[in-house]
C-alpha cells in the first residue's frame, strides 16, 4: 500500500539533488528525470516540493508521466489536509478567467474570436498560440496575401443550389475546411482537442491531431461520429523507435485516423520570441516565488552547483525537443511505409520543386500541405498562396497526382474561395480553432466552423464562420485571371 506523505516533508525535496513533486494526489521523485525533461529542468525545479498539478495538467497528455518515470519513482500519495490553502488567482494558475459568459453569436469574425480568447486564456497560452518566428513577417504575409487577391464575381448565376461538401483522400466531409494540427489545446480550455473534435463532428469537418496534443489520440477520437475523419501528425523523433511505437498506435485507431501527416517544415524549432518571453512571465508565478525563496536557503547552493544556469525554453522549443532533422526523400518515406499502411500527407511544402518531387511519390503520398507552419518556423518563408501559384505555373500536373491542401492566414470565407479557385482542395485553420476554444470551448470552435447559408460556386460551394458565407458567392474558374491589387 502506498505511503502517505505530509506536504511539509515533500516541500524539503526542492533541489536538483532531490526533487519531488505532487501530481494528481501522488508524490513523485523526479530527480533522475530532471535532465531528460524536454522543457528543461528549470521549469520543474521551480515547482519542486509543491503540488504541480495545475501547471502540469493542461500541457501533458495522460500517460506521458508513466511513460517517462519508473514505477519506483512514484513514492506514494499526499495527505491533502496538509496542503497549503494558497489562493491562486486564475491568471496565476492558468485557469480560464471568468469575465461572465461570452455571447458567441455576437462574435462576427475570426479577429473577434481571437480578441475574446486573448482576454480569457492564460498569458502563456496566448503567447504560444500567437507567436511566430522572428519578426512575424510570414505570419503577416499569410493573411495579407489573401487581401491582395481580388475576386471577379460573375452575375446571372443561379445560386440556389449549393453544396459545400467535398472529399479529402476520398473521405466525404461537409466542409472544405479542416482543423490543422495545433498543439496544447488544453492551455486554452479544458475541452482541449476533444472539444475541437466535437465541433468538427457537428459541422462535418476533418481534424488533424497534433503529435503534441495535450490529450491522447485515443481521448480525442473517443466520441467520434461514424463518418468523422481524422489524421495524425508525425514529428519524426531522433529515437525512431518512439515514432514507430506511435505509428503502431495509430494503426490501431485506423477506423478514425485515415492518414499520417508528416511534418517537414520544422527541422529545427522556430525562433518565436513571444513564446520565449512568456517563460519569464511564467517565472513570476507565485509557485516560483516560493522556490526562489527556497533558493536562498542552503539547499539552493547545491542546486546552483549542479546547474548554475538552468536553461529554460519557450513552449515551442520544449515541444520540439528530440525531433529529427535528418529526414530525406530517400530514407524517410520507405521507413514510413514499413511502419504504417496509412496514406501519407506531406506537410510544409514551400516550393514548386518540392511539390513536384512529392507528387512523384503518389500514391504512397496522397496529399501535400502547402504551409509555412503558420509563420512559426522560418520567417520570410513564402505564404502558401505563392507556392500554389508556382505550381500552377511550373508544374500543374501536381494537382492531378496528389491533393493540394493549404493553411496559413485563412480568416474569411473569401479566403477559402480564393485558395480553392487557385487549385487547393481545402484549407486548414489552426489558430482560429485554438482561439475559438479559448473563447468558448467546444461551442467556440463550432462558432468558427458554423455556416448558415448555402449557395453554389463554379468550383465548389462553401462558406465560413456563420454569416460570413453570405458575402461569398461566385468566383470565376479561370483563376489565372485573378488580379492582384
Amino acid at each position: 500500500m502506498a505511503k502517505v506523505f505530509d506536504h511539509a516533508e515533500v516541500a524539503q525535496h526542492n533541489t536538483a539533488e532531490s526533487c519531488w513533486v505532487i501530481l494528481y494526489g501522488n508524490v513523485y521523485d523526479v530527480t533522475r528525470f530532471l535532465p531528460e525533461h524536454p522543457g528543461g529542468s528549470k521549469v520543474i525545479l521551480q515547482l519542486a516540493g509543491t503540488d504541480a498539478t495545475v501547471e502540469y495538467d493542461p500541457i501533458h497528455p495522460p500517460g506521458i508521466l508513466e511513460e517517462n518515470l519508473e514505477p519506483s519513482d512514484k513514492l506514494g500519495t499526499i495527505n491533502p489536509d496538509t496542503l497549503p490553502k494558497e489562493e491562486k488567482t486564475p491568471k496565476e494558475t492558468g485557469e480560464v478567467q471568468d469575465e461572465g459568459p461570452v455571447d458567441l453569436d455576437s462574435i462576427l469574425n475570426i479577429d473577434e474570436i481571437e480578441e475574446v480568447a486573448t482576454k480569457q486564456i492564460p498569458y502563456k497560452a496566448w503567447a504560444y498560440y500567437y507567436s511566430a518566428s522572428d519578426d512575424l513577417q510570414s505570419k503577416a504575409f499569410n493573411g495579407n496575401v489573401y487581401r491582395s487577391i481580388l475576386l471577379r464575381p460573375r452575375v446571372f448565376i443561379d445560386c440556389t443550389r449549393c453544396d459545400t461538401s467535398t472529399t479529402f483522400l476520398g473521405h466525404q466531409v461537409k466542409l472544405p475546411i479542416y482543423v490543422s494540427p495545433a498543439a496544447m489545446a488544453r492551455l486554452a480550455h479544458p475541452d482541449g482537442e476533444w472539444g475541437i473534435a466535437q465541433a468538427c463532428e457537428k459541422y462535418g469537418a476533418m481534424q488533424i491531431i497534433s503529435q503534441n496534443a495535450s490529450m491522447t489520440p485515443e481521448q480525442i477520437v473517443a466520441n467520434a461520429g461514424p463518418n468523422q475523419v481524422f489524421g495524425w501528425q508525425l514529428y519524426v523523433q531522433n529515437e525512431r523507435n518512439k515514432s514507430e511505437a506511435m505509428l503502431a498506435r495509430m494503426n490501431k485507431l485506423a477506423a478514425c485516423i485515415k492518414f499520417i501527416c508528416l511534418t517537414l517544415d520544422a527541422p529545427v524549432p522556430g525562433k518565436r520570441e513571444h513564446d520565449e518571453r512568456s517563460k519569464n512571465v511564467a517565472a513570476n508565478l507565485p509557485v516560483r516565488a516560493t522556490t526562489t525563496t527556497t533558493v536562498q536557503e542552503p539547499q539552493s547552493q547545491s542546486l546552483s552547483k549542479t546547474s548554475t544556469k538552468p536553461k529554460t525554453m519557450g513552449m515551442g522549443q520544449s515541444l520540439f525537443w528530440g525531433t529529427a532533422a535528418d529526414l530525406t526523400w530517400r530514407t524517410t518515406l520507405p521507413w514510413l511505409a514499413e511502419h504504417t499502411h496509412l496514406p501519407i500527407v506531406l506537410k510544409g511544402i514551400q516550393t514548386h520543386e518540392d511539390a513536384y518531387l512529392a507528387s512523384l511519390h503518389a500514391p504512397h503520398v496522397k496529399a501535400i500541405i502547402l504551409s509555412n507552419h503558420g509563420g512559426r518556423a522560418l520567417d520570410t518563408a513564402p505564404p502558401a498562396v505563392h507556392t500554389l501559384l508556382e505550381i500552377r505555373k511550373y508544374c500543374p500536373e501536381v494537382f492531378d497526382r496528389v491533393e493540394v491542401w493549404v493553411d496559413g492566414g485563412i480568416k474569411r470565407g473569401t479566403d477559402v474561395v480564393k485558395a480553392i479557385c487557385l487549385g487547393a482542395r481545402g484549407v486548414g485553420v489552426g489558430r482560429a480553432a485554438l482561439f475559438g476554444l479559448g473563447a468558448g470551448g467546444t461551442e467556440g470552435v463550432a462558432r468558427v466552423l458554423e455556416s448558415k447559408s448555402s449557395f453554389p460556386f463554379l468550383v465548389v460551394g462553401f462558406f465560413f464562420l456563420g454569416d460570413w458565407g453570405r458575402s461569398v458567392w461566385i468566383c470565376v474558374a479561370n483563376v489565372w485571371e485573378i488580379h492582384s491589387s
Copy 2:
C-alpha cells in the same frame, strides 16, 4: 366606427402570443404577421404593446402596412391622453439631433459632408450607410483606385466654353453624375428620397430610386420637373408576382421613370458588420428595456416558448429578405420583357466577360452599371475602374453597344473626369447623397451636386460639389496613357 383603446390595455399584448402595436394613432394586432416580418420578429416584439410610430416611420414607405396586414388586424385607435409622456432623447428616437444649423457653404468636400452627417444622424442610420462587407476592402479600393490614377493636363486649351450636360439613354441631363439607388433615406432626414429628387431637379441630375426606398415611388416623383429623369431599381423577389406588381406600377409612372435597373451584384446579402452590430445598439433603446422588463413576467415565458432565441438582423439583411438568388441570363431577361417595355439597365457587372455578355442583349439592355455595390456585397470584389480597364482592353466594342455607367468611391471632380476619360458615360453617387441628406436635407444633397463654374473638356465638360470643379479642367483623350502612380 373604430374602437378607442387605452394604452394600458394595449400594453398587455406584448408577447408573441398576442402582439399589438400602436402606429400613427391606430392599434394593430400583428401577432399573425410576426413570423413574416422581413426584419425578424424580435424587432417587433421589442416594441410590442407600445407606440412604435417613431421607430417604424423612417424605414417603411407608406402603404406597406396595408399591403401586409389584413383589414381585420386594425383593431381601432388609441386614446392619445393615455399614452405615457416618456422623454426620449433624439439619439434614442432616431431623430436628427439639433446641434445648431449647419453652414453648408462651409462644407468644402464629400468627406466633410459625411463628417457633419455622422454627427447628426442616428447611429443605426450611420451604421447602415457607412457599412460595407467583411473588412471593407472593396469600399476602400473604390476610393483609392482613383487616387492611383494621375491626370495628364494639357495646356493652351480654350477653357471658356464648357458644357457639363450629357445624355443617359437618350435623355438630356445637366450633369454626368446621378444618384445611385440608395435605400432608407428617411433614416437620415425626413425629406428622404423626395428631398434627393428635389436636389436633382435643381441641378438637372438623374436619380435611380431604390426598391427599398423609405418612400413610395409615387411620392418621390411627386414634384418632378418636366424633364427630370428617374430609373427604378428592381430586386427580383422569390415571389415573382410581387415583382411583377411593382413593374406594373412603374409602367404607370413611365412619364418619369425611364428605365428599370436590375440589381445583379447581390444574390445573397453582404456581410456588413457595422450594420449587424447596430441592431445591438438599437436593442438598448428604452422601448426595448420596457419589453425586457416584461420578459421577466409570466407572459415572457410563453414568448420564449415560441421563439426561444429570436433572430435579429442588420438593416441590410432584413431589406434583403425574399430576394431571388436564381436569376440567369436565359430566364430573367425574357421574364422582364414580358412585364415591362422600359429599357433595362444591368447593375453590378464586375467582369469584362459579363459586360460583353450584357452587350449582346442590346438594345433590350441599354446600359450596364459597373459596381461592386459600394463594397457592400462581396468583399475584395474589384472596383469599377478595374472592370472599365478590362473592357477597354478585352472588348472595347461594349462601349458601342451599351452605355457604361460606374459607381463606387467617387468623391472629387477629378474622379468623375477619370471615369469618363476611361469610357464611362456617367457616374453614380450613393453614400454622398445620403450623407448630404443627413447634413442638411434637400439643401445638403444640393450642396453635393452643386457646381459653380463651367469649362470644357476634350471628352466632356463637368465638375462636382461646388468649387471642386475648379480644380478639374483638362484630361487627355488618349486614356490608355493614364499613368498609375
Copy 3:
C-alpha cells in the same frame, strides 16, 4: 489742401452704400470700387470705416491703389490723434510674432525652415503658402517621387574640382537653383520679394518675379547686382490691355528682367481648401468684429440689402480674379511676340506632347518649366519628374531645342542632382523661399540657398542649403538606369 478727418466721421461710412477706409494716413471712399475688388467686397466691408493699413499693406504692391481709384476717391487725411488706441495682438494684425531670434545655423533642412516659419508667420500666410489642391495628392507626389529614385554613386572620381555654376537662357548663374514665382511674400516678412532678391544676389541665384508679388517689379529689382538675373511671370488677363501694359513695363526693366514666364497650368484657380478656410479665420480679426457689431446697427440693414450674402474667397482665388482661360497655341504666342521682344518661358507643361509642341516654338520659346504649380492647380496632376521621364522616352529632341526647368517638391541636394541627371537644366524652389523668408527674412532665404562645399559631378556640380551639399556628390550620367525603389 487735403481735408483732415476725425476717425469718428470715417467710422460712420461702414456700409456698402458708403464705404470709407483709412490707408497710410489717407481717407478713401471705396464705395464705387467695392464690386470691382478682386478679393470680393466683403473683405473691404469688414474693414469699412477703420484704418485698414495693417491688413492692406502686406498683400498689395505700391501703386495698385492709385491704379484702381479715381483721384476724387481720395477724400483727405486722417487726424491720427483721433484713431482708437486698440491693442492688436501680432497674430491678429498679421505681424511676425516675436518668439526671440531664430538661430538660422541651427536649421538643418527645408522641413525645419518650414517648421520655424509656420510658428512665426500669420495663419493666413501659412494657409496660403501651405495649401494645395483638393487632397494635396500632387503636392505629396512632388516630394515623394524624389524619394523613390535611388542614386547610383560611382567611386574613384576626383571630387576636388567642383563648379555649381550654370547658365539659364545663356545667362551665367552660380546655382542651378532658382526661386520660382511665388506670390505674397510680404505676408511672411516685410523684406518681401526684395528680400528674396537680396538673398539670390548673395548666392548668384536666379529669381522669377510673380505677377502677384506684394511689391512692384521695380522695387524688387531695385538693388539688383550687375549680373543678377530675373524673369517675370505673366498671368494673361481677360482685359488684355492690362497685360500689355505690364509687358511694356517689363520691357523697360530688361536690364534685369531677362524673360517672360507665361503661366499655363492654372486656367482656373485651384481648389485650395486650407486657403479657403483661412478666410473664416481671418473673419475673427477684431477689426472685423467691430464691423460685425456695426452690422447690427441700422446701416447694416442696407448692407445686407445690397449684398445679402457677400462672397469671400481664399487668397488664391482672389489673386486669380480676371485671369484669362482662353489661351491657345495659335493666338497667345503671336500676341506675346507683338508686345515684348523678351524670350518666352512656358510654365506648367505637364505632358510630353505639350513639351514637344512647345519645342516647335523655339527659339521664340527658349525654355519650358515642367510644373504642376506646386500641386496647387489640378490635384493628381503628375509630378515634374514624370514628365521629364516621358520626354526622355518619347521625344528627347526637346532637350536640344529648349531648356527644361522643373519645380515642385525639391527639398534636398540629392533632389537637384536627380532632376539634372534626368535632363533638367535647373530647378525652382517656391515654398522653401517663402518659408525661408518667414523664418528669417532675407537671411532666412539665404540660409535656404546657402552652400558651403563644392565638388564635381559628371553632369554638373552643386549643392543645396548649407551643409546639405556634402551628402551629394556623384550621380551617373546614364540616367535611364536609375532604379525606382
Copy 4:
C-alpha cells in the same frame, strides 16, 4: 622635472589667445594647436582651463596627443588637490549610466540590443552611431530590402551536419559574419574596439579596424588569438605622408592584419543631422557652462575677436577632417601598391560598373565590399542587395575574380542567408557590434555574434545572434528565383 600647477592658474588660460587643458594629470598649452584640431577649435575652447580628460579620453586613441603637440606644449602636471570636486552626472560626463546589470540572455534580437544600449550610452554616442544621412532613406532601405526578399525553403534536407565556417581572402573563419570598421567604440563602453576583438576571437569572426578607432591598432590586436583575422580600414588623407606612415605601421602588424580596406564611399562627409544636433546637446555640458561664464569676462572678448563664431561639427564631420576627395582608379591603387604588400579590399562599391572595374584589378584587389556606408554617406544610395542583384545580372564574372562582401541592414540570420545565396561571401555588421558593446561591453558584442545551433545549407550553413539561427535553415541555390513580395 615637470612643473606642478594649481588649477586656479590653469583656469585663467581659457581663451583662444592662451588655451590650456589638463589631460591625464598633465597640463598642456594647446593654443597653437587650436586651428588644427580636426573637431574645430570651439570644442576645445569650451573645455579651456579645465580638466578635459573625461571628455577627451573616449574619442582619442592613445598617442594621438603626442603626435599632434610639440614636446614643449606639455607644460607640467596638475596638483590634483586643487581640482574642483564638481559633481558630474553620468549623463554629463558621458560615462555609462548604471541602471543595474543587463541580463544579456534576455535580449533576443538586434533591435533589443540597440534598445538596451540606447538607454545606457551617452547621448552623443547614440547620436553618432544611430545617425545616417539626410532623411535616413538609405539606412531604412538597407533593412527593408531584406524583408522584401522571401526565402524558398526546401524539405527533406538532412540538416544534422552543419558548418558555418568559411574563408575570407583564404583565411579560415568560423562565421561568415565580420565586424565592419566602426569608429569611436569607446564612446559606448571602455572595452572599446579591443572588446570587439575579444568577442570576435570567442566566435571566430573577422574584424576590420576603423582608421578612426578610439584605440590604436596595436591595442586592439593585443590579445589576438593565433588564427584571428583583422583588416584595417584606410581613409586616404590629403597629407599622403600621414597615410603612408599608417600603412607602414600596418605592415608591421601583418601577423594579425591581413588586408587594407580602402574606403571609397565617402569622398565628402555625410550630412548626419542627428550627429550634428548632438553637438548642441554637448554644448549644455556643465564644463561648457563654465566656459560660457568666462566668456562674459574680458578674456572672452579677445576670444570672440579671434574667432567670432567658432564652428563646431558633429562627430562624423570632425572625424572626416583631412580625408582626400581626389582618389582615382589611375593613381590611388598604384600608390597603395608602393606602400603596402597587403591585399586590397575596396569598400563602398555601389554600382555593377564599379564592381566590374574593381574586378579588373584582381589579384591586387582581392575583395570588394558593397556598402552605402550604413546609409551614412549619400542618402538614397542603393542598398548593397541592389548592387548584388545588378552584378548577378550584368557581370556575374565579378564573383569569380574577387570576393564580394556586403554590409548594411543585417539584423537576422535570414538576412545573412539571403546575402550569401545572392552571391556574397560574407556580411558585415557595424552598428550591431557598437550597440552590443553599449549593451554589455565585450559580452554584449559576444551576444550579437553568439550561435547555439548548427545545421547545413545548400550554400553554406550558419546562423546569427544566439537562438536566431534556429529559424534559418534552408535556402535554395537557384537564387535567381528568389521572389520579391
